[in-house]
């Protein structure tokens, strides 16, 4: 099945063999049986995330859109947090009158849970349209209406007939998958069906072949969490080798999103985020893709650029650019390298981003001593080995966890890295242990390309220069775990789930971690 044919987006467990519970080492993960991993769970767990959050995070970025959240009043309450990024991105783009995102809740109550919420949903869609005259309207189906059997599909098809704007539908019931990254697929599914496949004008025709001498137009798939600085660096790099970058679909309009079907190549900056959409463009519009690297760190940026250039015969130009930029940035980071060389780094983020950022730090002379990835899937499979090889076979701890800070805290106390690199919401746990922290993937910072290489190195060196805030914090605040927990195997609570009869349950992977560091 594919994005075009799927009525409802399958969970990543099915589509990409994703798992979210593994504890051990990089080498151990490489040898583990994917089918077993997929079924692993936890008997103690802390709050995860559901796909409604990434879906709303992505779709709220569409300008002048209205989001209808069909559910109880709390679903979508994180809209305020998403709205902050949304506003700031508009300001970054020079729009000083940044508008707040717009969403409504159908406020499903006890009575609707009993009698059904379809009527209320339908009315809400039309009232919302009347009230705001949005340029598109998006319906998010949450857990409760789904379980009481509200028929979203028929409400949407009636709304598409009655309204003169694109209507997008997103099935994002949190209980349907343990892998919230499925939400990216759901958002792309909603975008494609709303703006392209079910659009009033139908889907745009396939583009004619690019004429000789024309600059190639390349889609760059963005993420809601990629900021203006990174977009500028991507555009600058591609422009330098003679390619026009076209960034979307987040923050894109109907027209700009439809125009993505007319590109000469689709380029991902995060394969695990984009593949569902990229495959659609390839299958339906014959647009080839580059979907294996993320331009973070020098080697990754190099292969990413060469892959793109290779599609248009621009390798010579690309090589010259890469050589020049590499020399320039290596000279510039030399001052930070003195501080960073030999330091031990622990990374935590979405799998692919954590891993490529590990490569970046290795290029600065640092050793990766641990990675915590939100989930594990086919895209990350070989990368762990790559990191081990790059540091002369030195293995490192791996925790695959949909957050689960109890495991992280235990691990960090054992490993005692010199610096912790974490995605938003991960950092506080390292901070409470007194570790220097450099946050990653804020929309105000550079991460990709050469500028990103420089800025990340600079940030890490800056953080190491004065970690007093966190050091003092650790002396004065407590973590919520019993002392005994720190003596336990950090992955004690990971259990093998039900597996189909032909597959034997995996035994708990052995971990070898330094215990001496425990205070």
């Amino acid at each position: 099945m594919s994005l075009l044919e799927d009525k409802v987006v399958p969970g990543r467990e099915e589509r990409a063999g994703a798992c979210m519970a593994y504890g051990g080492t990089a080498c151990g993960l490489g040898q583990a049986d994917g089918a077993c991993l997929k079924n692993q769970n936890r008997s103690f767990s802390q709050s995860g995330l559901c796909m409604a959050l990434p879906v709303m995070g992505m779709l709220l970025t569409l300008p002048d859109t209205a989001v209808v959240i069909h559910g109880a009043i709390g679903c979508g309450s994180t809209g305020f947090g998403m709205n902050i990024n949304n506003r700031l991105r508009q300001l970054q783009r020079g729009n000083l009158n940044a508008r707040d995102g717009f969403w409504v809740s159908t406020n499903l109550t006890e009575s609707e849970v009993i009698h059904g919420g379809e009527v209320k949903l339908e009315q809400t869609i039309y009232d919302t349209y009347k009230r705001f005259h949005p340029k598109s309207l998006i319906v998010l189906q949450t857990c409760a209406p789904s379980i009481i059997g509200d028929d979203l599909a028929s409400v949407i098809s009636r709304a598409r007939e009655k309204l003169d704007i694109p209507v997008l539908a997103a099935n994002c019931e949190g209980f349907k998958t343990k892998i919230w990254a499925t939400g990216y697929d759901v958002a792309f599914h909603a975008i494609v069906h709303g703006f392209i496949e079910s659009d009033k004008e139908g889907r745009p025709p396939r583009k004619q072949r690019r004429k000789e001498g024309e600059r190639p137009q390349v889609n760059i798939i963005n993420l809601a969490s990629v900021g203006q600085p990174d977009e500028e660096e991507i555009t600058r790099m591609l422009d330098a080798i003679g390619i026009d970058a076209y960034i979307g679909p987040n923050y894109g309009t109907r027209e700009s999103i439809r125009n993505m079907t007319q590109a000469d190549l689709t380029v991902s900056v995060c394969p695990t985020h984009d593949d569902y959409f990229v495959d659609y463009l390839q299958q339906e519009y014959g647009i080839p893709s580059v979907l294996k690297d993320m331009p973070i760190g020098l080697a990754n940026t190099k292969s990413w650029l060469l892959d793109i250039a290779g599609h248009f015969g621009l390798e010579t130009r690309a090589k010259a650019f890469i050589e020049e930029e590499t020399a320039k940035v290596l000279e510039a980071v030399a001052v930070f390298r003195q501080v960073l060389e030999g330091k031990r780094v622990f990374l935590s983020a979405g799998e692919f981003r954590a891993l490529v950022t590990g490569s970046l730090f290795q290029e600065l002379g640092m050793e990766v001593v641990g990675v915590r990835s939100y989930h594990h899937d086919n895209f990350g499979r070989d990368y762990y080995d790559k990191l081990v090889e790059a540091q002369q076979g030195k293995d490192f701890a791996v925790d695959i966890a949909n957050f689960q800070p109890f495991e992280l805290t235990n691990l960090l106390r054992r490993i005692q890295p010199d610096i912790f690199i974490g995605h938003i919401s991960d950092n506080v746990w390292a901070a409470k242990l007194g570790l220097p922290v450099a946050t990653i993937f804020r929309i105000f910072d550079y991460y990709v390309g050469y500028r990103g290489f420089y800025e990340v190195a600079k940030k890490a060196a800056r953080v190491l220069r004065n970690p007093a805030f966190n050091r003092n914090l650790a002396k004065n605040v407590d973590n919520p775990y019993k002392q005994e927990w720190y003596e336990e195997n950090p992955f004690k609570y990971i259990k093998s789930g039900e597996v189909s009869s032909s597959v034997k349950a995996a035994s708990q992977p052995e971990i070898e971690l330094q215990k001496g560091a425990v205070q």
Binding site: I73, G74, G81
Partner: protein, 445 residues
């Protein structure tokens, strides 16, 4: 009021219960729900209330059963039992509260039965069904308090005639709940009273455990905490009064008189506290007087907030700050009785200063109704509310911009400020509010 709710200015019942539990020092929630519920509620609590953060065992550390399709089909009770067991063995807390989301309530898990197994063994576990479809954070606050009062508070303790329980400020829904409770406790302590605030970073579960000793519960809200106070009365014989959140000298004096009237507080002690606190307030206002008058810092005020703040702020603006309240919007989802109660509160404000009061949940409709009102008062020269000031949530920044008004975010959600120990309640809170409001007007100097 419409069928749906635009950018709801509150969380769901689960969110209210979770924020309440996470406000108690050394208490931990065990959320029995789908994987996103706790994170979603927590995200809203932290982004919307001046970056509260994860704290001790909140945020992503919140224990949660993260139930999936399998549990929806076969029931989630055994998963919950496993999760309570493991939580008790790993989390270092004095009180555990099992709270639920929509899914587990809809499929009908017997969470009370599961929790009872642990309660029998003497584990400090309480349980409440807080599925989001049951109501807003206000409902969640009531339900979790009811659970605490019936399952955790000790029965049959001797009464302490000087002990008071404070209820009615919902953590994060009242963005300044910590500072407000601390300030009210400070003032009441000056009257010789002991105060249970329950929800500040300095309150441990034992204050709850022994709260049945109180002689009186003071509910700081006409809406929030009313049910909890009634349960306190029914189960533990603690009577209650309703005394709305007091901001500034005028309201706080009335608050103290009302509370003192119900307890053994001598008139002399009361007078002395009022005099001292008042003098503290005016010791600072004496120095504000120059700029207030020289720069004509009086404004027409538009006030937007929940049932607690809409009245409390309006009263302060009218009686202490000497501004002109023009338009006040109450954003809670209220039934008719509750609306009547709030309306009658506004009658405490002198008729000539009483604002137009509307009940409206939706930000865009509040703006539309103000616009319509202003259009009906139009004149060739300037807006009827010029110079204007808006006290509301961060959502109302747009309305302030459109009316060329000064703007301070005070009511949920507040995403553009960091909130720690600030208080707006009481005397010191009044000074703080004057300072924050007028600082906005001076920010371009």
């Amino acid at each position: 009021m419409s069928n749906f709710i635009e950018r709801p200015r509150y969380q769901c019942a689960l969110g209210g219960a979770l924020a309440t539990i996470n406000s108690i020092k050394r208490a931990a929630a065990i959320v029995h729900a789908a994987p996103g519920c706790a994170s979603s509620a927590d995200g809203a609590a932290t982004a919307g209330s001046g970056y509260w953060g994860a704290g001790y065992c909140g945020g992503r550390a919140t224990p949660s059963s993260n139930i999936l399709e399998k549990e929806i089909i076969f029931g989630g009770e055994s998963r919950l039992s496993e999760q309570i067991e493991s939580t008790l063995s790993i989390i270092d807390a004095d009180l555990f509260a099992v709270i639920t989301g929509c899914m587990t309530d809809i499929i009908g898990d017997d969470v009370k039965g599961v929790a009872a197994e642990f309660q029998k063994k003497g584990d400090p576990v309480v349980v409440a069904e807080t599925g989001g479809f049951k109501g807003t954070s206000s409902k969640g606050y009531e339900v979790i308090f009811e659970a605490l009062i019936t399952q955790y508070v000790k029965k049959g303790l001797p009464k302490n005639p000087r002990l008071v329980n404070l209820l009615g400020l919902i953590p994060t829904q009242d963005v300044f709940w910590r500072g407000n409770l601390i300030e009210l406790k400070r003032i009441l302590a000056n009257l010789g009273l002991e105060v249970n605030t329950f929800l500040t970073p300095f309150d441990r579960p034992d204050s709850l455990r022994n709260a049945s000793q109180a002689a009186l519960t003071v509910v700081l809200s006409d809406v929030h905490g009313q049910r909890a106070a009634r349960v306190f009365e029914e189960i533990h014989g603690v009577p209650f009064i309703t005394a709305p959140l007091p901001i500034g000298p005028a309201a706080t004096r009335g608050f103290l008189v009302q509370v003192a009237g119900r307890l053994e507080v001598g008139e002399k002690a009361l007078d002395e506290v009022v005099r001292e606190e008042n003098s503290w307030y005016y010791s600072f206002m004496e120095n504000v007087a120059d700029i207030f008058n020289d720069l004509d810092l009086q404004r027409y005020a538009v006030i937007i907030g929940d049932s607690n703040y809409s009245y409390a702020l309006t009263r302060f603006i009218a009686d202490d700050l000497g501004w002109i309240p023009y338009f006040t919007a109450v954003t809670d989802l209220l039934d008719e009785d509750e609306q009547e109660k709030i309306k009658s509160r506004f009658e405490n404000i002198a008729a000539e200063l009483r604002p137009k009061v509307i009940f409206e949940t939706d930000t865009s409709q509040i703006a539309a109704r103000l616009k319509k009102d202003l259009a009906s008062q139009a004149n060739p020269y300037s807006s009827p509310i010029s110079p204007a000031f808006v006290l509301g949530s961060t959502l109302d920044r747009t309305l302030a911009l459109e009316n060329k008004a000064g703007f301070l975010s005070v009511t949920y959600p507040v995403t553009n400020r960091l909130v720690t120990d600030q208080a707006y309640a009481g005397y010191r809170g009044g000074v703080r509010l004057v300072t924050d409001i007028l600082s906005v007007l001076l920010s371009n100097r």
